[in-house]
Structure formats: structure tokens, C-alpha cells
């Protein structure tokens, strides 16, 4: 039992700590990164760079493993088709990201730092997800 839940909790803890350490719990930093025509703050590029570097190494282990350490099988996205939905969704996501300086990870991470802002953002985040479900999944 514990073996299946431990990776999720530990991963969430590490992820939240990384977001806070990297300054990603401060919307001003995210908007500063997107403000390339103004006072550009490149910090987010270092965060992304560090994360992508470690993950790129992790991906190299996957083909050599028959199964994950604590689970029966890998369950990974395999799609490779470029669709209008992918681009439209990412474009809308980016507008919201730029408006608030928040995406889902930091939205949850700030629950402990700024609960009011976190709850307002997260309730509307889930409302947006529910709207998508109603519109596209019936």
C-alpha cells in the first residue's frame, strides 16, 4: 500500500519545494520572465533548464527498465499528433498564465503561503477544467 502512495507524496513535496526555492511561487517572477520587452527576469529559464536536464537523464533509464520501481507498468503518453486542440489549448493557457503569473503547480503550492489568492485561482482553475469536460466530453 505504502509503496504505491509514497512516490506521489514525496514527488509533490519535492516539486513544491523546488517551485518555492526557484521563486516560482511569486507571480511577479513568472510575469517578469514573460516580459521580454520590459524588465526581463530570466530566472524561470534556469528553473526550466534545471528541471529539463534532470528529467532528460531520468528518461534514459526508462527503456532499460521492465517496470517502474513501485508499480506494475509504465503508463506514459504516447500521442505524437499535432492537433488544433493542442495549439488552441496551449494558447489559452498562456493567456491565463500571463494574466496571473500562475500555472497549476504554483497555484497549489501557494496554498500555504497565500491561501486567499490560491483558493480563488484554484476554484476557477477547476471550473475551467469542468467547462472543458462539459463542452467536449458530454
Amino acid at each position: 500500500m505504502m509503496r504505491t502512495y509514497l512516490p506521489s507524496l514525496a514527488s509533490g513535496l519535492l516539486f513544491g519545494a523546488g517551485l518555492a526555492l526557484g521563486g516560482m511561487t511569486d507571480p511577479a517572477r513568472i510575469r517578469g520572465f514573460l516580459d521580454i520587452f520590459g524588465a526581463w527576469d530570466p530566472t524561470l529559464a534556469f528553473v526550466m533548464g534545471g528541471a529539463v536536464l534532470v528529467m532528460a537523464m531520468a528518461w534514459r533509464f526508462v527503456p532499460r527498465m521492465t517496470k517502474p520501481i513501485f508499480a506494475q507498468a509504465f503508463a506514459l503518453p504516447e500521442r505524437s499528433d499535432l492537433t488544433p486542440q493542442l495549439v488552441t489549448g496551449a494558447a489559452l493557457f498562456g493567456i491565463g498564465w500571463g494574466l496571473a503569473g500562475l500555472c497549476p503547480g504554483p497555484g497549489f503550492a501557494i496554498l500555504a503561503i497565500a491561501p486567499l489568492q490560491a483558493v480563488v485561482f484554484l476554484v476557477s482553475l477547476i471550473a475551467g477544467m469542468a467547462l472543458h469536460r462539459v463542452m467536449f466530453k458530454g
Binding site: G18, A20, W97, G98, A100, S124, M129, A130
Partner: protein, 143 residues
């Protein structure tokens, strides 16, 4: 710290990024899954039946603020600057809707997908970076 960019924190940024990468590596090699926060969130609230178990999804989400709180305590507090609550609400809907329509967010596409050289994730990441940059530029120009 970084010449020409007085506000940047490259060392903390890189260290934070490495922690996020380790979080992704742990879930990938431990549980065989992608760290995609939008997918995990929709799984937790029952809007998606794909992905990890509901309990695992909740545990991951609970870990996020706990991990952030530990760092905030060690750093002697963080001072985030937020936009107004109505703007946060509008942005939240766009981020939630867009992440589901586009099959992922900054973590799933930007970190996990890009590091795997996924064509879909690279396109999604370039798209949301471009629209985010455009949004901030328009706000800057309008007022």
C-alpha cells in the same frame, strides 16, 4: 547575481529546477507516470479517469504546499506579488480550460514532454510561452 539582470536568481532557480526534475524523475521511475499537475488535479477532483489513483493524486497535491511551506520557512518567508482577485479568477478559468484542451501545462508539457523531445510538448510549450509573452506585452502597452 547575473550581470545585466539585477532581479534574477539563477542559482536558486537552477537548484529549484533540479528539485522539480527530481520530483518528476521520482514519479516517472517510481510510479511510471508523468508529473503533469493539471492532469493530476483533474484526476483528483474526478474530472478525469485517466492517470494515477485518486488517492495518489490527492497525496501529490497535498505535497505541493507542504514542500513550498518548508522552503518558505527556511528562507524566512517569501513575498509573492499577486494580481487582483478578479483577474486571478479569469486567469484560473483560462489556465484550467486551456490545460485540458491542450493536454497539459507547464509541468507535463514544459518539463516532462520537452525533456523527452515530444513533438506535441515542444509545440505546446512554444505556444503558451508565445501567448504568455504577448499577454504581458499587451497589458504593458494598455496600462
Amino acid at each position: 547575481m547575473l550581470p545585466g539582470f539585477p532581479d534574477a536568481s539563477p542559482v536558486d532557480g537552477l537548484a529549484g529546477g533540479v528539485l522539480i526534475g527530481l520530483a518528476g524523475a521520482l514519479l516517472l521511475l517510481g510510479a511510471g507516470r508523468i508529473v503533469g499537475v493539471s492532469g493530476i488535479a483533474s484526476r483528483a477532483v474526478g474530472l478525469s479517469s485517466q492517470g494515477m489513483s485518486k488517492r495518489s493524486a490527492w497525496l501529490f497535491l497535498v505535497g505541493l504546499p507542504l514542500g513550498a511551506a518548508v522552503v518558505a520557512t527556511l528562507k524566512g518567508g517569501l513575498n509573492p506579488e499577486f494580481v487582483s482577485l478578479p483577474l486571478l479568477a479569469v486567469a484560473g478559468v483560462l489556465v484550467g480550460f486551456g490545460a485540458r484542451l491542450g493536454s497539459g501545462c507547464t509541468s507535463g508539457h514544459g518539463v516532462c514532454g520537452v525533456s523527452r523531445f515530444s513533438q506535441r510538448s515542444i509545440v505546446a510549450t512554444l505556444t503558451f510561452m508565445a501567448s504568455g509573452i504577448a499577454t504581458v506585452a499587451v497589458i504593458g502597452a494598455v496600462g
